[in-house]
């Protein structure tokens, strides 16, 4: 397996009648985080969905470890996790059950790992309550616990700090920094700049094309 790098090459994407991405290029290497900024509608979410292979670009391609992701999407997906605007949670299930079914499709995780992930996001106290009784910030934390549990190299995050308090926002910064320090990669769409050390942090400004 070659070095973990993510590259976007000349990505063009149309959304309906709008040409949202006009030849976007980027490279993210191991230990680096690319932060996507830009006004609403500038294509941050579209770019993330194109990187993870949900949307097809009109032109251009995304490469993972030097190969076009379209060559082997399942293998690429096994090494990445995408978190969208909303945490992918079932309101009727508890936080712990949600993690069990969500992550259980991808990999076998032990109860100890799950407890550790929940503790790390500060969720050990409400892990057995149905998700609909949790606050928006707590739901976001469950999603972050899932992100840790999925144990992948590439994180694709869409506004991960939404609904989090100052403390939580700082925590997201710490999680990403730790992920990078251990050789991980991240692409993060943000409204407000991430609160983390600038080491390994790059910014791609969208919406001026």
């Amino acid at each position: 397996m070659s070095e973990a790098t993510l590259e976007g090459k000349h990505l063009h994407l149309w959304r309906g009648e709008r040409h949202v991405l006009r030849g976007v290029n980027f490279t993210v290497a191991a230990g680096q985080c690319l932060q996507l900024t830009g006004p609403n509608g500038s294509g941050k979410t579209s770019l993330l969905r194109t990187i993870c292979g949900l949307s097809y670009p009109e032109a251009g391609s995304v490469h993972w470890r030097g190969e076009d992701i379209r060559q082997d999407l399942p293998a690429f997906h096994a090494q990445m996790t995408y978190l969208g605007h909303e945490p992918p949670l079932k309101m009727e299930l508890t936080a712990r059950e949600n993690l069990k079914y969500w992550i259980g499709v991808r990999r076998r995780s032990s109860d100890r790992e799950m407890a550790q992930a929940l503790e790390q996001v500060g969720g050990d106290r409400w892990a057995d309550r149905p998700v609909h009784t949790l606050s928006a910030g707590q739901k976001r934390r469950v999603a972050l616990a899932g992100l840790l549990l999925s144990a992948v190299s590439l994180w694709l995050l869409d506004e991960p700090t939404t609904n989090l308090d100052v403390d939580g926002q700082r925590q997201v910064g710490t999680l990403i920094a730790e992920h990078l320090a251990s050789g991980g990669l991240a692409v993060v769409a943000v409204h407000h700049a991430l609160q983390m050390s600038p080491q390994g942090l790059h910014t791609l400004e969208l919406g001026n094309g």
Partner: protein
């Protein structure tokens, strides 16, 4: 930092595709467990199609005649029309919630076979609607003057027929999952496609009630189910991917 390195160690284990990747069978079981658990937490969605089935079948004696001999003649049609409409009613919920909260997106990005995951969901849907309908059909039949000897036949035909209904219905449900109000459209898409199920199902039921051999139409019904199991999951997967794009 100790915690972070623990996740990194996990990652390298997962990266080598070692024993951490669960087998397809255990994932399918997990999906079934999840959907059944969800259904029982939201019992109203589970009960509504059944209640609807009961109401539709009781309409006919009230509207036509309470005479059991006459009811027996229309019983196959009543049972099958009611089963068709009830399973249609349940279809609207099949992918709607999972599409809305991002679960399907996570399925598509899990690195596992999306077709397999969606097929597991469809099987869960059949267990939650098709099977109960099959168990209800003989009861409804009894109320329509169907002799007891015909009950196993009715149960078998409805059980096999609803397999096809769930699978073809899943195509319609997947195509319309992103639309705000899809009820009427879903019926318009699905009903013309499932006409063969209605024809063979009603015929087998009719023969069972007359205590004649119903194997022929029952086998045709099974053939439709096999064809649907083979092809419908591919269409469902394509439809889900299109709606996630």
């Amino acid at each position: 930092m100790a915690e972070a390195s623990a996740w990194a160690a996990l990652r390298s284990a997962a990266g080598s595709q070692g024993p951490a990747v669960p087998s397809i069978g255990s994932v399918a079981r997990l999906m079934l467990e999840r959907d059944l658990r969800l259904a029982f937490r939201k019992a109203s969605q589970l009960v509504q199609p059944m209640a609807f089935f009961v109401i539709v079948t009781t309409l006919f004696p009230l509207a036509v005649t309470p005479n059991l001999v006459q009811l027996r003649r229309i019983a196959p049609g009543v049972i099958w029309a009611a089963a068709l409409l009830s399973s249609l009613l349940a279809l609207e919920f099949l992918f709607r919630d999972d599409a809305h909260d991002g679960t399907l997106e996570q399925f598509a990005l899990s690195g596992r076979s999306l077709t397999g995951l969606l097929l597991a969901k469809t099987v869960a849907h059949w267990l939650l609607t098709g099977l109960p309908l099959a168990l209800m059909a003989p009861i409804a039949g009894a109320a329509l003057g169907v002799p007891e000897a015909a009950m196993p036949g009715i149960l078998a035909t409805v059980a096999i027929g609803t397999v096809t209904l769930s699978l073809i219905g899943a195509v319609g449900a997947a195509l319309t999952m992103g639309l705000r109000r899809s009820g009427a459209l879903l019926s318009l898409l699905t009903l013309p496609l499932v006409i063969p199920v209605l024809i063979f199902g009603a015929r087998a039921t009719q023969l069972a009630i007359r205590s004649e051999a119903y194997r022929g139409p029952l086998l045709l019904l099974a053939a439709l189910a096999v064809l649907a199991i083979t092809l419908a999951p591919l269409a469902v997967t394509a439809a889900v991917r299109i709606n996630l794009e």
